[in-house]
Symmetry: C2
Subunit: 230 residues, 2 copies
């Protein structure tokens, strides 16, 4: 468990960017340390904020769970990324960033070193990806500039989400290569942010498919227009 | 949408077995009718009961959604069942029923024609399967005796769940072969019942894995001991 602040009621969005960066750095340091245990194959880093998102503690915190296997959902995404690279010789996430910047419709914000967008096939309303702009497959070895840029983008988008959606519960989680795997050209680490606005119900359990009543273009447009104090 | 009763406040568990059977028959009749449209490849039949399970209507109802594709989660289960059949020449679900009846630990109730058990790898507390005892791969063509037996078992287990877990919200859904596929020896239709007692949170989203704090043996034992008026 990573305790994100010494202020009991402060939320991650209220912390200065440097402190959010230090939370990501704590994730990274723990991940590097856990990677020394070869029984561990992957680390799930996540944050549940608010009761409807599964949080049982009020004090701002995030969690790391090391697993002795690599989850199949990750391997499926990795296979798709590797197939894209085999066909195009480009990272699919770098391609998504370039295409979204041309289209503009699903981009929420961007800086020199990070981009926030609502993915084309968002699984839930206001699902968001926070990506470092430069290609890097693994969070474990991401340069500090990437952590800083992603922390700043995360802070701004969390503040927009707090205003636009009236402080919703949310899940935040890291998507990255498994532990100790060499850097590659086809995968690109990112954070995923999912405000909790809908429920997983019978249809979703039975089909494995998601119902999202909010098009990502509407979510991105709404968040672009939401003003926050820098 | 299938309206299950004309009594506004009645729950499915409170209906007579014949009426629950008629709900399943309505599902089957709609499925047979939908199967005439060759654009439709599968039908998801489900019931969300209570707000935390995603229900937006109070009046007892279930829903059918026809899809122009077969969900990948179903195909993955089907592949595993076909592999078991290729290795053993037996239906894996018939094997599960036989093994669970020997072990007894995860069986909640059984009748001549149906079995209710908490599966060995239950994904959530009190996840339950209601299976017809005789092998039949598709709900679409299931004989009326199977619908009757499953309806009776469903009624009893729903009443046990209502008493044991204090009327929880729940999702109920059908797992069956896609539309129009010929009967086979390896798949076995069933109902899945998931009381809503935990939430899908950051770890589950990131890993695709479920955290279940209640072993299926404890859930089954608790429900076996829960007495209900027949």
């Amino acid at each position: 468990v990573v305790i994100e602040t010494n202020v009991h009621r402060a939320t991650l969005a209220e912390l200065p960017a440097e402190q959010i960066e230090s939370v990501l750095r704590a994730w990274q340091e723990r991940m590097v340390d856990l990677s020394r245990d070869v029984r561990l194959k992957s680390v799930i880093a996540f944050k549940n904020h608010g009761g409807p998102a599964g949080a049982t503690l009020v004090h701002a915190h995030s969690q790391l769970v090391a697993l002795p296997f690599v989850p199949e959902v990750f391997r499926a995404e990795e296979r798709a990324a590797a197939e894209h690279f085999a066909a195009k010789e480009r990272c699919v996430f770098c391609d998504v960033i370039a295409q979204e910047q041309r289209d503009r419709e699903r981009v929420v914000l961007e800086s020199d070193d990070a981009v926030v967008l609502s993915p084309w096939a968002a699984r839930s309303p206001f699902e968001l990806w926070i990506l470092p702009r430069d290609h890097h497959s693994s969070f474990e070895t991401a340069p500090q500039e990437q952590l800083r840029a992603v922390a700043e983008a995360l802070r701004t988008v969390l503040r927009k989400v707090e205003v636009a959606l009236e402080r919703p519960a949310f899940n935040l989680f890291l998507q990255t290569m498994p532990l100790r795997e060499p850097l590659n050209d086809y995968y690109h680490w990112r954070l995923s942010l999912k405000p909790v606005l809908t429920l997983q119900a019978g249809f979703e359990w039975a089909s494995g498919c998601s119902i999202n009543p909010t098009p990502p273009e509407e979510a991105a447009s709404f968040l672009r227009q939401t003003e926050v104090i820098p």
